[in-house]
Symmetry: C2
Subunit: 767 residues, 2 copies
């Protein structure tokens, strides 16, 4: 063309914009390695799930009983997710798994394809061929977001799985076999010896459709999960085995042969098997839909989500959901390990809590009645002691609508609660009271304060928080209210609970302030200062305090057992007042004591006995006395921001990152705790962290990436730019927010959500 | 007045009519004595219920375990209704009871009021004061239709109960006490040692409202019943006891004291107690609503039926329902015993089957999904082996709309059945396969043939019958279809089942004929002749037949055990072909063999061993070898009508009546069998009996009353008039139907339902 350079510039600009907009976004799913954390401490699972999916279709590598030779079996702790990377066999594939917990449940509806002689017991790992389990090799294993594949060597069967929200989809490629089987073992579970099973039921509706349920008393006290299972080809025959010793009117007068080709079976311990003939390379597919409500509900869920048999499509649909979610934060880095860690961490933050309702919105509530979720999606698996700290705050940035639904789910739980409390640790619509505190108030306050309150009656939410915090009968709250602390004689975790309640109460006060509820504000602000009541000036630690006001005489600040703290010791917990670091520092004697104290946390050498007594901790999981695997530590590295040596925050967090997070199977330094460990990783890489949810502030740290773009609602974005990034450039020289020099060590939620840019200038020397 | 006698006559007529219409109907409830049958064989319960009510609120007089000293405890059989008249203690009042069965279940939600030291075990009858049970005396006991009262002597508490359809209403008059309690024992049941409990739950919603459920595996395989319980005054405190040995994560880390004043408890064996202070004569009332669907459903049922606390009103409302039902047949007699027997029998025919749905129409179906009953009331407790014979035929006369609903309930059961069968013996929405045959086809055919098919797709109903009767895998049906009989080697009750199937098939054929389904008619008419295949000409008995066609060599026609018959012996069962008495008589060698055979049934003397081997039978329950307590006998006395000595029918039935039915606690000669025994009594007193339901004919007998008026739909009435009635006038001289001499020995259903009159002329001499 003979025009001037103006159109050319114009075209350049246009193409530049077009480039930015039409260049296909890099696929992020390839960076997700669900295998990370499946060895040793992480307790993650390698199987398939979609974001927040109800189904987690994943392999079990052993059947672990609570007791071994009459004693507690320590392996029970290791198998919370049903899988340990070092194992050599797979017992089967079940449909529900926790990610990163320290306690067990789920593992529902174990399915195992086999050929050859029918075996209905899993056998043991040390005796190959002794049961239905099969050997496998990691060489023949693929673990992606929403896709898992493995070769079952004992049978030469290739197993693949993928999911939609409520449906697990199996695809098995068989060898030629006259005696192929699918085993469905309802006695299996995580863990299930002794039995968590209360009752189970299987109905063979026809030769391609099976329905049923499993009812358990486990970590969830009253839980029933229903299933509908379709086969892509009819089975030739089927049978059952009932291993219950107790059954009334069993096989009443033998009217039918109830073990072979009979349409239904009920009992406490039942198994079913389905027989096929297969040709070489024949694919047999199975769809297993779940429902918390009914078999009918499960069938409807299957029809709604996966009416057909296109495995690749379901996999692709799920992975497209993953791409969507992962693209909420696009990072720039040349470090492949960082990218794998980052997107695996993103993945791990986006699989809990879990959706807990049918496609039609029905769910079983805490009151064991069926409810209709009106105007929200109902969630469960609230590991709140862990997740209030960074996971829910992360949702407030990248998934506010979902967090809004989670708050609504918690409020529904409160309405249904016989104890009139918000959730403490809830799973499958059950309260299991695990850990301590009443941290849902933090999640609720944080969401509302951060403007994420659409459709929520904020005053009613505040009332629920207040009612919960005034439940005198719950774990020392009565004493806490009357005395300002929980006396040591009355509760085994009196100190940590006092500290946790004080923080929780502070969040209630913040919410009350926002809503103009002055009386509530004053009541709970006062309570939030209670952390000072368990500080022992003489020793300089938080310490168990007796009813008479004195502190417990014999006291060891390093021991985690029996000192009044949950999952931690005084050394760590003394630093737990995230709502008031300034006040804490003052209490402890100012910077001149506080800074060396915090320093020594990271540098001291612990005696061996410390590791012997604590289940969750190994030397690998510790830096000095800093236990990253224990969540009360998660804000600690950021506390330097309130001292005169904030550069130490930057140093510490950059030191913690590579130590505690590696892109390897054993790469997590502690239980992922349903995403909290991963959320810490995300924030810390970005360079800011929500030290006290309920406040709208994020403490600045030291970003470990080259840059990031955070996608916000309404098309906005918040970008992080990092100049002079390098492994040794851990210190921050200066920070610009939207081009202006930032003089504080924090940014606000509004700073992020309005969109804009945060630029860090890094250096190998601190200021 | 100075008018002529014409007006006077007119006035007389008017006043006569007026008299007939406005004279208050005699109250019939006073003649109902639910205590009849509560001693020994009857297995009835004395407590309160409304017609077909879901609740049967009645006292338990012992807690009976299945085993005693490691062996089967024969008392289990005696306590099917939870109560035996000879007992001296009451353990409590529970809300669900069978009437007259031979197997146990139910006994849900045992409530016991006590004063003094709290005891949570029932104790034993031989040690007064050893548990929560109390001594009582029949002098202080009142048992009426929908009302029960007793004084609990150990506590000086007066207990009264009444019900609505879904609510049990207790009224306890306490003495002055500081330590009054209401015990709620969810470990109790009929029977419950070993445990039928799968799981139980109690929630204390507030100090006047408690909800919960009991889940059992018993005679009903998968059963859950929910309750809502309101107290008329708040309890001061409450507590729980959990006797389960196995519970996972029990009282997780002791966060609450879960045994005292805690809002909920779950477990396999739980009990609750509620504490009060009472003044002298203070009434404490409890309403307990049931639901097969949910706790929410139970609460709604209570609100719908008994929103208030007026005990007398609920009692009166229920008794008014009874008056309505009992007035369906108004008899004339001067014999008080006859009247009490008659109205107690009427009562016993009108308490089963039982309504099984919430006030909003929801119920738990056979498929364990929740269903909505659209256009019918859903029933359960179908003891069909017993009730097809006379109970459902009676309903077709006095309660056709209800029987229509029962047929619809059976068809819904079929739709939900995994085995694709109509009910055999169903209870609480579960199939328990008790007894034999597939007699629902008889009930369905009988109803449709008798014109009681409104809202029923008759062809679809026929299809359900046919599908059921073609279930090859069910108890020998496959052999029966292929060979014309069930071979002895294949089934322990091969002969009685062959006979029962033949009868059932005949009813299917009748229905097919009515609907013009010729192919089905021919198939099943042919099958109905199969009864002839198990007749052994050589011995003259129905006899087990081997697959090779020969009859079993060693055979005892008197023994009930192991001879191929269920609940009976060859002597009785040889007469079981109610669909074809003419054919049977011919088969057996004509009247000259048949009549003496039938005679000897009533006159022979059985050896002692016969009674030792049979649980259900005592010498009192037998007339010769005629066992009135076993339903296959029920038509036998009427078979003379097909011989040349029909007068013997009249003689026999008049002889059976006083022997088998007395207005005393032990007045029933056998289990009432959910109303079948009582229905036999009703028909026989009226003078006609449905020998072969599925036919529209009723065989005439010998009425034992002076007269009766049967109320029919649409304001019509069918009256029975008996001339020259007297104890020895058992023979019928002649019968007029609507004034015309009746030459046959039967009337039809239309004869009755069109309204009219049947007049018997009685004599002490037979024709």
């Amino acid at each position: 063309m003979k025009n001037s350079y103006l159109p050319f510039t114009f075209l350049l600009i246009i193409s530049g914009l077009a480039n930015a907009q039409t260049k296909p976004a890099e696929k992020l799913v390839p960076y997700v390695k669900p295998i990370i954390g499946t060895q040793r401490m992480g307790h993650t699972y390698p199987g398939a799930t979609v974001p927040f999916g109800m189904v987690q279709l994943s392999p079990e590598t052993d059947s672990v009983g609570y007791e071994l030779n009459g004693k507690y079996n320590p392996k029970v702790y290791e198998y919370c997710a049903g899988y340990q990377y070092e194992d050599k066999t797979i017992t089967g594939f079940s449909h529900t798994h926790f990610s990163g917990t320290g306690h067990s449940d789920l593992g529902d509806f174990l399915v195992m394809p086999t050929v050859g002689a029918l075996r209905l017991n899993p056998g043991t790992a040390d005796k190959p061929g002794s049961g239905y389990r099969s050997r496998f090799s990691h060489q023949n294993e693929v673990s992606q977001a929403n896709y898992y594949k493995v070769k079952l060597d004992d049978y030469n069967i290739q197993a693949e799985m993928t999911t939609s929200t409520r449906v697990g989809f199996h695809q098995y490629i068989f060898p030629k076999a006259d005696d192929a089987h699918i085993v469905l073992d309802l006695t299996a579970g995580i863990y299930n010896y002794p039995d968590k099973n209360v009752w189970t039921y299987i109905r063979v509706v026809n030769d391609t459709l099976v329905t049923g349920y499993r009812q358990t008393n486990g970590w969830a006290k009253n839980r029933v999960l229903y299933f509908a299972m379709r086969f892509s080809k009819p089975f030739i025959s089927h049978g059952f085995r009932n291993e219950s010793t107790k059954e009334v009117y069993r096989g009443f007068w033998g009217k039918f042969n109830q073990n072979r080709n009979f349409p239904e079976i009920s009992g406490q311990r039942i198994k079913a098997y389905f027989d096929f003939k297969t040709t070489e390379g024949e694919k047999v597919k199975i769809k297993m839909a779940l429902s918390p409500v009914s078999m009918e509900g499960a069938l409807a869920n299957m029809q709604a989500e996966v009416p057909g048999w296109d495995f690749e499509k379901v996999k692709a649909d799920g992975q497209q959901q993953w791409e969507s979610e992962l693209h909420k934060i696009v990072i720039q880095t040349n470090n492949k390990a960082t990218k794998e860690n980052f997107y695996t961490a993103m993945y791990h933050t986006l699989i809990n809590p879990t959706i807990y309702m049918d496609a039609d919105g029905k769910y079983k509530g805490l009151d064991q009645n069926v409810h209709q979720a009106n105007g929200f999606t109902n969630y469960t698996t609230f590991s709140l002691w862990d997740t209030y700290r960074a996971l829910h705050p992360l949702f407030n940035i990248i998934d506010p609508a979902r967090n809004n639904d989670m708050v609504k789910s918690m409020l529904a739980h409160f309405e249904q609660s016989p104890e009139h409390m918000l959730p403490v640790w809830s799973n499958s619509g059950n309260e299991n009271w695990c850990m301590s505190g009443y941290h849902s108030v933090s999640v609720i306050a944080d969401a509302i304060i951060k403007g994420n309150a659409a459709g929520i009656d904020a005053n009613k939410a505040l009332d629920a928080c207040v009612t919960t915090a005034r439940q005198r009968n719950y774990e020392g709250i009565g004493f806490y209210i009357d005395m300002g602390y929980i006396p040591d004689e009355r509760n085994g975790t009196s100190v940590s609970s006092t500290l946790e309640y004080a923080y929780d109460d502070w969040t209630i006060a913040q919410l009350a302030k926002k809503l103009g509820r002055q009386d509530i504000y004053e009541e709970f602000y006062k309570r939030s200062q209670n952390y000072k009541n368990v500080y022992d000036k003489a020793s300089g630690f938080m310490r168990p305090r007796l009813a008479n006001g004195t502190f417990r005489p014999k006291f060891d600040p390093l021991t985690t057992i029996g000192q009044g703290f949950i999952e931690g010791n005084a050394w760590n917990y003394t630093l737990f007042a995230p709502q008031d670091p300034k006040g804490l520092i003052e209490l402890m004697g100012g910077n001149k004591r506080f800074v060396p104290y915090l320093d020594s946390l990271f540098t001291m050498h612990l005696p061996d006995k410390f590791f012997e007594e604590t289940e969750d901790i190994t030397r690998d999981g510790i830096i000095g006395n800093y236990v990253h695997g224990n969540e009360p530590s998660h804000h600690l590295a950021y506390l330097y921001n309130w001292t005169n040596q904030p550069w130490k925050t930057q140093e510490r967090v950059r030191m913690i990152l590579p130590k505690m997070y590696k892109p390897t199977p054993d790469g997590l330094g502690g239980n992922d705790d349903t995403g909290q460990m991963s959320a810490w990783f995300i924030f810390t890489n970005l360079g800011f962290y929500p030290v006290a949810p309920g406040s709208d502030a994020y403490a600045l740290g030291s970003p470990a990436i080259d840059g990031a773009t955070i996608q916000l609602p309404g098309g906005k974005a918040f970008t992080v730019t990092v100049k002079n990034q390098a492994e040794k450039n851990v210190y921050v020289q200066k920070v610009l927010l939207n081009g202006k020099l930032l003089n504080s060590l924090s940014i606000t939620h509004a700073d992020i959500m309005n969109g804009g840019n945060l630029t860090f200038y890094m250096s190998s020397k601190h200021r």
